[in-house]
């Protein structure tokens, strides 16, 4: 499938949503809605987040960079934040905002091992974020971030209020032990509506896993 490898690599190094926004923006710049439609037809069924982002662009309701305000509010008091799954559109601005509030705050990311990526390249990008940088954390060391001032944050790629599509690393981490080792378990609902395509690359979990579901669409829609 032409373009699939390229998208998978970009998604692995930037995140599904961040990569989808990038590809859709480039397609629009190159050929408007026609090119977005071609992109959706070619890669949508293999990459459901790209399908959703392209669909929203075609409906003239583009997915914008998520508002970080409600997430930063929900993280108030946290000194250690671990993102499960990378979304640079989310991780980088939140890390900068936290660093401005709590200079000693530590931010880490667990990558989605399903997607191809060059770890050295990802690490170099993340280490350049803010003064303290963002560290890559191996899946087996996630409890390094635990504590009563700690939070786990993961992107939700669509939910119907019951099931939520998340990075598969979340279901490896999430369990009765982790639930009581972190103060907050935040789901950042980046797409709002459920995915139309089968959630390939992602895992489904219960929306009730989270201590808080936060809307990523805009400040006005804040918390759901």
């Amino acid at each position: 499938m032409p373009g699939a490898d390229a998208f998978a690599l970009v998604a692995g190094e930037l995140g599904m949503l961040s990569a989808a926004r990038l590809f859709v923006n480039e397609a629009e710049a190159a050929g408007g809605h026609g090119a977005i439609g071609d992109l959706k037809a070619a890669l949508g069924s293999a990459f459901p987040v790209l399908d959703a982002v392209a669909g929203r662009a075609l409906a003239d309701d583009p997915v914008r960079a998520p508002s970080i305000t409600p997430v930063v509010e929900a993280l108030a008091g946290c000194t250690r934040v671990l993102f499960v799954g990378l979304e640079v559109d989310c991780v980088e601005p939140v890390a900068r905002a936290l660093a401005a509030q709590v200079p000693s705050a530590t931010v880490g990311v667990i990558l989605d091992m399903n997607l191809p990526h060059d770890e050295a390249r990802v690490r170099a990008n993340l280490e350049a974020v803010g003064e303290r940088g963002v560290s890559l954390v191996p899946l087996t060391s996630f409890q390094r971030f635990s504590g009563h001032k700690s939070a786990l944050v993961t992107a939700i790629y669509g939910t119907d209020g019951f099931r939520a599509a998340v990075c598969s690393s979340w279901v490896r981490i999430f369990g009765p032990d982790a639930r009581t080792q972190f103060r907050s378990l935040l789901g950042w609902n980046l797409l709002g509506a459920p995915l139309n395509e089968y959630p390939r690359w992602l895992s489904e979990t219960s929306a009730s896993d989270f201590t808080e579901l936060i809307s990523g669409r805009s400040n006005a829609e804040a918390r759901v």
Binding site: S141, S146, D160, G161, F162, T180, N196, Y198, T211
Partner: protein, 180 residues
């Protein structure tokens, strides 16, 4: 494989989404009331939410239900003195041992629960330091729903029993003074 059909949003606010199948009913559990119970000991709202979640939303149902019953009843005891955080010991979260070294001293404060164990009360049971340390270890050992229930229970007892203890001591003093 075709995509899943979307669920319809449930209109009944009492509907428990993805409810675990529990061996006993815990419908009586009142997390808001428990937040009020722990408020004097845990000032930060986010910390209270974490604590209450560990007490009545995690672990086996019979523990969650028992925690709710015992703590809400103990909260009805008379309030004879204010909580004193300086008279409490930190309660560790029991993280995996290999991570204690990795995290270093800087993280010690965060690797504890946001409520301390009021150890002064244990002096009523023993004058021996070692025994009191053993008592504290027993109270803070185990999964979070046990440990935190123990700590909140002791905090509520500590708040209630103080004057009684002083009264008892006074009574003993009086009795001694009255002895020929």
């Amino acid at each position: 494989m075709p995509p899943h059909p979307p669920h319809k949003a449930h209109k009944d606010p009492k509907h428990k989404k993805h409810r675990r199948h529990d061996e006993v009913s815990t419908d009586f559990v009142d997390p808001r009331a428990l937040e009020e119970v722990v408020a004097p000991f845990v000032p930060a709202r986010a910390d209270r939410a974490f604590l209450v979640r560990c007490l009545v939303d995690e672990g086996p149902a019979h523990h969650r239900g028992a925690n709710d019953v015992l703590l809400r009843l103990l909260a009805r005891l008379p309030r004879r003195r204010e909580p004193d955080p300086s008279a409490c010991e930190a309660v560790p979260m029991r993280l995996p041992p290999h991570l204690q070294d990795e995290r270093g001293d800087r993280d010690d404060d965060d690797a504890t629960y946001p409520i301390g164990l009021p150890v002064r009360l244990l002096a009523l049971l023993s004058d021996d330091d070692e025994e009191r340390r053993a008592m504290a270890a027993c109270l803070t050992h185990g999964p979070p729903q046990h440990v935190l229930a123990n700590v909140v229970m002791l905090s509520l007892i500590d708040r209630a029993i103080a004057e009684g203890a002083e009264d008892a001591e006074d009574a003993e003093d009086v009795a001694k003074a009255q002895q020929p």
